[in-house]
Symmetry: C2
Subunit: 228 residues, 2 copies
């Protein structure tokens, strides 16, 4: 059994990578990161460093061209990423995703991961979707309904050779951190902030979420500490 881990360089996917390495050993695990036209490549650098830390095979894909016509604010040249938490961003959007929703990004990443995983003889794809992401339909491609359907599509479409594993689909981010701390995940190497500054901005939704997740574990975010 070999596993491919979708790695964004953030907390959730890095914890997935730690789980997969812990279960299968580094020689049976590979990581995959995707550039999609985001404002900065800090998370890709982080993913690369994390793969080096775990000594797993690492692959990068550039899918930026696919989002050339999207007005998602995570993308380069599309205006500012909104500040504040997801709840405030969802106000007035009438059930539509937040402006940082990249159209069907997770579906695309999982599909590309499936094609690569099958080519490399992997039977599992790990990815770090968790319960907070899908709160209030902020990111519909992290909902459990999406996850179940996409898992089934990959299973059926691969001739039942491949499964998607989302170990944190029903966990909160603080629980992801709790699991990762046990596995000694090097969180100081991860990057989550939507901005590409020298240090995390501390104001975007993902910075807020991340700080909270550590605080709920009685910890300070090591990425902040390391950069002081």
């Amino acid at each position: 059994m070999k596993a491919l881990v979708l790695s964004s360089g953030g907390i959730d996917s890095t914890t997935c990578l730690a789980l997969a390495v812990d279960k299968y050993g580094k020689e049976n695990v590979m990581s995959l990161s995707v550039f999609y036209g985001q404002k900065h490549a800090k998370e890709l650098t982080a993913a690369r460093e994390i793969a080096a830390y775990y000594q797993v095979e690492h692959r990068e894909l550039d899918m930026g061209v696919i989002f050339a016509d999207s007005d998602c604010t995570l993308l380069d040249g599309r205006g500012n990423v909104p500040q504040g938490d997801y709840a405030s961003q969802l106000q007035g959007r009438e059930g539509k995703p937040v402006s940082t929703y990249v159209p069907f990004r997770n579906g695309l990443f999982l599909a590309a991961a499936a094609s690569i995983a099958l080519s490399k003889g992997c039977g599992e794809i790990y990815y770090g979707a968790h319960a907070d992401d899908s709160a209030g339909n902020a990111y519909p491609d992290t909902s459990s309904a999406f996850h179940e359907a996409m898992g089934q599509a990959v299973y059926e479409g691969s001739g039942k050779e491949l499964q998607i594993i989302a170990p944190f689909i029903r966990s909160h981010k603080s629980q992801v951190v709790a699991a990762g701390v046990k596995l000694k995940v090097p969180y100081e190497l991860t990057w989550s902030c939507y901005e590409g500054g020298e240090r995390p901005c501390g104001r975007c939704a993902t910075c807020i979420d991340r700080k909270k997740a550590f605080a709920l574990n009685g910890l300070r975010d090591p990425a902040e500490e390391a950069k002081e």
Copy 2:
């Protein structure tokens, strides 16, 4: 309503394009073709000519790098495409897909189509899967089980903004041709053969299927006629 049609330059997707244009008008339809490292680009040229014929916006994507490690025989440099029909190719493969199965290709194409469709304000993706493709598990990513799950994944993952339409999912290829003949589809522009010769080889599984589909309608394949 706007629709994006996945166009391979073959019979099934070209008939889908004709249906979409007939329903929504050419200004509300776009086509998308994907290069995935196949042995030749004849089908991409055909798709381009077909889009020009219907005067719809056309987009091409290069996803060849994703299949760099696949040993699928449709890909460039991976040995010969087997001759004979699908039934004979499936013998001895113990339920595994045929060697021309490109790993999760349709899932990847549909996911990329979903990202682009949402960016362009389309509410539907048309694609040309039909009942013969999935016979005997030759291509698991054309089965109705895959189709249903992938349709659900796209619907849920898009925040219920996007649907996959596979008008021929329960039709045989001869029925696709029958529908297309009514819509005056320019089949002489299409390309199906797995080989990249001057004319269709007439021996690969898709050539055999295609010839049969026309014959069952009492017709001769116009692509063959045009090239004589």
